[in-house]
Subunit: 105 residues, 2 copies
């Protein structure tokens, strides 16, 4: 991707479009934030309230909502966050429905 391309926030009328990915985080920036205190990546697993999640605090200041994970799991809008792990911004649980590879964009 051309790093000179401007990042245009999604306007309020774009319901149905793909939302912005959440902030990258974790070792080698291979993860994405799931809320302000969780960082997960397909090759990483998940970090809750660790030094790897400090970057995710910035999510509190994003102008538009972001979305991490593509496949829904569990309850309350959670999604598969890493192999075998289902997360919302409230926490993460092991979930075999997230075991399949390539669940994550």
């Amino acid at each position: 991707m051309d790093s000179n391309l401007p990042i245009t926030p999604c306007p309020q009328v774009c319901d149905g479009d793909l939302p912005l990915d959440c902030l990258p985080c974790g070792p080698r920036n291979k993860g994405h934030c799931f809320g302000p205190n969780i960082c997960c990546g397909e090759e990483l697993g998940c970090y809750l309230g660790t030094s790897e999640t400090l970057r995710c605090q910035e999510e509190n200041f994003l102008p538009t909502p972001c979305e991490s994970g593509r496949k829904a799991c569990g309850e309350d809008g959670a999604s598969c966050a890493a192999p075998g792990i289902c997360c919302s911004s409230e926490g993460c649980v092991f979930d075999s429905s997230c075991n399949q590879e390539m669940l994550f964009a």
Copy 2:
């Protein structure tokens, strides 16, 4: 503690005694395992399915059950695992009842 002291496994008749602490894990071994895939520490936060939890796989081979955390929280035998985080071996959720300091031995 005298590092020459032998570690004696708890015999089966010791119901009611304090169970063994679970295995140490994580950066500087400052955490304890919560089941085979979770490592949490008061100064660390929690790791789920990350490289920091690999040591915890050994819990599957412990001769007697171990116990991490002292204060019960949430459901299903979960306990406070790090400031503001409640874990069982199934996963971790943010829980304000775990916010108080010095919850952990």
